[in-house]
């Protein structure tokens, strides 16, 4: 059952990704992207990462994508997509390089697979499940986040603040 759901999500995700790349209109690409993000969120659920799945839908598919949509509509980009994709020699070259990358990734993932991962998979999964059972889905993430990784967390907050200020300064029309 899980495999079937995974394949379903995977097909939608890859299809959406291709849609992003080939979509003629920015809005079409954006909608494909949302489909991809949603299916990846689904796959997160399959991996028992419920909190991240929720965040994915809320923040990514919700907030960030809507921000993109606002910008597309603000700039009124719905029409100028005649020469958007670079076909020809460049396209072939890019395909070759990307194909090679895909090959390298395939080699890496297939060759090692799950056995290449250090540690006992079943034990780690059981440990995560135990923590989730004890602290809840959010608590399992929040606990290390606010203890072991609190400095990184605070720095991320600072980064967001800087980004907000930068965005305001950049987007503000110069008078």
């Amino acid at each position: 059952m899980t495999e079937i759901v995974f394949v379903l999500f995977a097909v939608v995700a890859v299809g959406g990704a291709i849609g992003v790349v080939v979509g003629r209109s920015p809005v079409a690409s954006l909608l494909s992207m949302i489909a991809t993000l949603a299916s990846v969120a689904g796959i997160y659920v399959l991996f028992e990462a419920h909190f991240l799945a929720a965040i994915q839908v809320l923040v990514y598919a919700g907030a960030i994508m809507v921000l993109f949509l606002f910008v597309i509509m603000l700039l009124n980009l719905g029409h100028d997509y005649r020469a958007d994709v670079k076909y020809g020699l460049w396209y072939l070259l890019s395909l070759v390089v990307v194909g090679l990358t895909a090959g390298a990734l395939l080699q890496g993932f297939m060759g090692t697979g799950a056995t290449g991962v250090r540690g006992d998979g079943a034990a780690a999964a059981a440990a995560i499940d135990a923590v989730v059972a004890e602290k809840g889905v959010v608590g399992a993430i929040a606990d290390p986040l606010f203890t072991d990784y609190v400095v990184a967390f605070e720095l991320t907050g600072l980064l967001l603040l800087v980004a907000i200020v930068a965005a305001v300064v950049l987007a503000k029309p110069r008078t």
Binding site: L52, Y60, S94, L170
Partner: protein
């Protein structure tokens, strides 16, 4: 299921890479970059099932950075558009030597 997830992650990543290479619309390039980030996130989540909760934490941080990046990047696109009336990256070569 880990191998499949990693393969899916790789597929999403290369598709995103291709998009960055062949598209001219800055916003779509941006979307493709987000796609790449998502591919990596997927790999993190899949692997976290086998190594520990830290993988999920990293996804959290990646999302934050992506959000910050989207905010700043879109602001830059708006700022450039205001000057050049286009988001075609081929026209943006004014930082060239």
């Amino acid at each position: 299921m880990l191998t499949q997830a990693l393969l899916l992650s790789g597929a999403l990543f290369v598709i995103g890479t291709l998009g960055v290479m062949v598209r001219r619309n800055a916003i779509i390039i941006f979307l493709c970059i987000e796609l790449q980030l998502n591919a990596v996130n997927l790999a993190f989540v899949a692997l976290s099932r086998y190594t520990g909760i830290e993988g999920q934490l990293f996804v959290f941080f990646v999302m934050t950075v992506a959000a910050a990046e989207a905010a700043v990047g879109l602001a830059i696109i708006i700022s450039i558009f205001r000057h050049h009336e286009t988001v075609n990256v081929d026209k943006f070569n004014f930082l060239k030597w």
